[in-house]
Symmetry: C2
Subunit: 153 residues, 2 copies
């Protein structure tokens, strides 16, 4: 997309990513966006950053982080020992919705996953995000599974 750069996140991006996670309706219930940011976010970033099976991505425009997604590569015995890919925490700045930024990010992610030879890209989306489901289907995803969560807190 013109003027938008997709790149690996650095430690300096963590506050901007957490802001995107926290501004969301669901995220606002579970995140804590403060200055300075809770250390647990940076500790998680370090684990993600040093793991070659994780790629935390930001979309940058004019020096600002305007979107994020987290790609995870999961070696598995299923699919004849294929590495499945998963995407989590897809967010676009709420002020910049409906401009195709999310689509550009996801198309970039799909290409990245193809490069790594994955047979499958999977994600789950909260049923309350009705718009998101049509969006993913328009990208070729099939709505074949039920996603279940067990809260352990």
């Amino acid at each position: 997309m013109a003027g938008i750069l997709f790149r690996r996140a650095t430690r300096a991006d963590v506050p901007a990513i957490v802001r995107l996670l926290a501004e969301d309706d669901l995220g606002s219930q579970r995140e804590r966006f403060a200055d300075p940011l809770t250390e647990s976010y940076f500790l998680a970033f370090e684990q993600i950053d040093r793991d070659a099976n994780h790629e935390l991505i930001v979309a940058e425009q004019n020096g600002d982080v305007i979107g994020t997604l987290h790609l995870i590569f999961l070696p598995s015995l299923s699919y004849q020992g294929g590495t499945r890919a998963q995407v989590e925490s897809v967010r676009v700045d709420q002020r910049l919705r409906n401009q195709g930024i999310g689509r550009g990010m996801m198309l970039w992610a799909i290409e990245r996953v193809r490069q790594r030879g994955c047979p499958l890209l999977q994600l789950t989306s909260n049923k309350s995000r009705a718009d998101a489901h049509g969006f993913y289907i328009s990208l070729g995803f099939t709505n074949s599974h039920t996603g279940m969560k067990l809260n352990l807190k």
Copy 2:
């Protein structure tokens, strides 16, 4: 459960695990259970085995592998930098269904995930597995998400 041992899988368990994956209706379309087994299964096992964020588990009874599941620990920025847990490829030997083995395995997995301090355990289940959904709900899971897959083959 009496007489059933839950333990980390070893390389020697790989054929028995693949048999469980392949005997399933959906799995039979994507796995290749042969003797000798395709090398890709062993290569995937090696990746899983050396990654501290993966625990491939078998249920053993009288020396036989009768069930399997794959626990994955996913560091993430969301949930205030919490490590979410995911379970994939839950299977019980079809000849031993409805004896509570799956329940025993999942209760073991939930306890394991609690030990590692995860805020959440997540999974997806194909919508065609109607029985499985009730089973997971009976364990406390909520059916809150849509699970989407993009086939890249």
